[in-house]
């Protein structure tokens, strides 16, 4: 995966945007809801057995005679999990997805090295894809979202999730016409259709609806959603669209 130096410098200026409070195992730069040892005060709570004595707010105890624990936010490293769809339908835009994933990994690794680049480079298209379970942190899913079963998997995600919907120009506006036997790249199933202007228009409408449905579905679940074409320059996607979508900042 080769990026030019200018693009790498621009990546250095970016960081993953996290709307929710995150939690991770390692202490890092991110403030989490987990109470920890940073100097940023968060709130008070009643003392319970087992709390550290040093966390007791002795000022309140002096004034009110009640034991309150002073809570501070804990700074943790952001755990990022990148899932790139490797199903056969990704073939025409897989290289784009890989490069996008690599760029995101570079950004994420600036905080803490959590996404090894070789893993992304070694991905092969055509293997079954499922979204990995992420206990905490941020999940980024790069997929063409043709698999309806993906919704079920995403719903199980309890972490902040960004869905990057990648479509190839051929998917956005199929350059096909005539009587065709359309074969599904993953299942091998086929249907015969005459594809003319009407069919192409209908397809575009259905695709728009399909994307809107995903967008709404993601919105309802507080997931970031970004649709992009694999023909769009990667720099533009990273610098503009991902920032607009709130995936990067």
């Amino acid at each position: 995966m080769v990026f030019d130096e200018g693009f790498l410098r621009k990546l250095e200026a970016l960081r993953l945007a996290v709307r929710r409070s995150i939690s991770g195992r390692r202490e890092g730069e991110r403030l989490t809801k987990r109470r920890g040892g940073s100097s940023d005060f968060t709130s008070h709570r009643s003392y319970t057995q087992g709390d550290e004595f040093r966390a007791i707010d002795w000022n309140i105890y002096g004034r009110l005679g009640l034991l309150y624990i002073k809570e501070f936010s804990r700074e943790e490293a952001l755990t990022v999990r990148l899932a790139i769809d490797t199903s056969a339908s990704m073939a025409p835009k897989f290289e784009f997805a890989q490069r996008l994933g690599a760029a995101l990994a570079l950004v994420a690794n600036q905080e803490a090295p959590s996404m090894p680049l070789p893993e992304i480079e070694n991905l092969k298209v055509g293997s079954p894809f499922s979204v990995p379970t992420v206990p905490r942190g941020l999940a980024i899913v790069v997929s063409d979202l043709w698999d309806e079963g993906l919704r079920q998997q995403l719903m199980k995600m309890r972490v902040e999730t960004a869905v990057i919907h990648v479509l190839s120009p051929e998917e956005l506006d199929p350059p096909i016409s005539g009587k065709l036997r359309l074969v599904d790249s993953e299942t091998g199933e086929s249907v015969v259709r005459f594809v003319g202007d009407e069919e192409r228009a209908a397809y575009r409408r259905l695709l728009a609806d399909h994307c809107d449905a995903w967008k709404k579905w993601c919105f309802d679940r507080e997931m970031n959603y970004l649709r992009c074409s694999s023909s769009t320059p990667l720099e533009e996607v990273v610098q503009v669209y991902l920032r607009e979508a709130g995936v990067l900042e």
Binding site: D144, G178, L180, R181, S190, V191, E199
Partner: protein, 484 residues
Amino acid sequence: MKFENPAALWGLASLILLILFSLWRQASAKVVVPSLLLWKKIPERNPPVRALRRPRWRLELLLQALAVSAAVGALAKPYKETDEPKPRRVALVFDTSARMRAGDRLAKMKKHASQLIQDQLRKDVVTCYDAAPAPRSFKSPDDTHGADGHVDLAPLIAAARANSDLVILYSDHEVEGTLPALFGAPADNAGIVAFSVSDDEAFIRIVNHGAPRKIPILLKTDSAEFRDTIPAGQLTWAHKADYSKAAFLRVAIEPADSFPLDDAVEATRLVGATSLVSLNGLYNEGLVRVFRSMPGVSVMNGELPARVAVGYDRDPGPGDVRVWLYTPKANLAGALKVEKHPLTADLEARVNELSGLTWGEVPALGKPLIRVGDKVAAALQGKELHVCVDVNQWQKGLKSFPIFWVNVVDFAQGAASGLTVVHGGPKANLLDERESDTAGKSQELSLPPATAARNLVRADLSGGAAWSALFFLVLAWLLQLRPD
């Protein structure tokens, strides 16, 4: 190319239907899409008419069109006519007379005929005729072979003419109405043309078609050999000797010519497998029994012609040897003496036995065989034997009785009618004198050019068209089976 059924060519109009049908029902092109999720929601519809204006020419359509065209062509029964000279019916008549064996001209004739068929009669209908010795027809000149005698060409040529436009005669002399291919031989033949032999003389007549010359001759029997030379210009030769005992006699001339078939003749004595003995006159059981006990001898009563005819107190019937057997009226007195003769072989040792018999006198004719005192009791005159003895005494267990009668039968067989000419040359019968002149004439065949008449030869092409249709059809089918 012409068509026997040109109306079938209207079937080519079906090509239009094929193309229209193909345009309407174009095979769908395979396109792999990432997902059918959306395409499945788009309803299927028939191609609009404007889509037909952009036909996609495919190999399948081409093959189908070719198959239809070929099938229509096959139904129209195409044929091709070529103009070729009309085949002639040619007869090759081979003169296979014995004289054609002179030299190697029979082999030359076969070779010439085979070459002729291959080079000039290839497109003609050729039939060969010969007589070996019966007239016959056949296909290959190699099947002809020489006859052992003279062949009459007239019926052969008549048969050949009846069935042919052209008759080519392979012989050594011309025959009217045929195209001669003549093969002569050197004029040097000398051969035997007549031969006769009796018990005391052999005679031959020869012909000499070569230059006058001395011809060595060899006469040979089973027991003797005689060499001589026929003087130049002499055409007969005879030799006198006693051949009455010869089983065979062979005369061979050695003229050193190119035709050895007529250089030798042979005669042999024919001896029947069985000898008939006829008994006439008084019946004597001992006499009958002794003849019946001899192998190859059958006995008949009466006067039938026989090898041995015995007359007991009566004249014998006709036979090679006739035996007069007399009953003695009085016994001869004196010593018995047996003369040496084939008829008395082995009897000399049985004089005592014979002396005990009653003998009578026979007429003193010819050669005496048995004497009693000064009288003759048995004598041979030519082939007539006279014996006067008491047979009733003789046949009562005396060994001299069967010995004598066996001698009689043997003598009769030896005295069978003379030598018989059975063949001349190694295998052939005595050749016809016409076959002796082997020189003949040589003449190259002059074959007339092919007739002006020409044939229209029709080559039927419908089979090829049908096979082509099948081929294109199978190819189109295989093309549809191929993986995308």
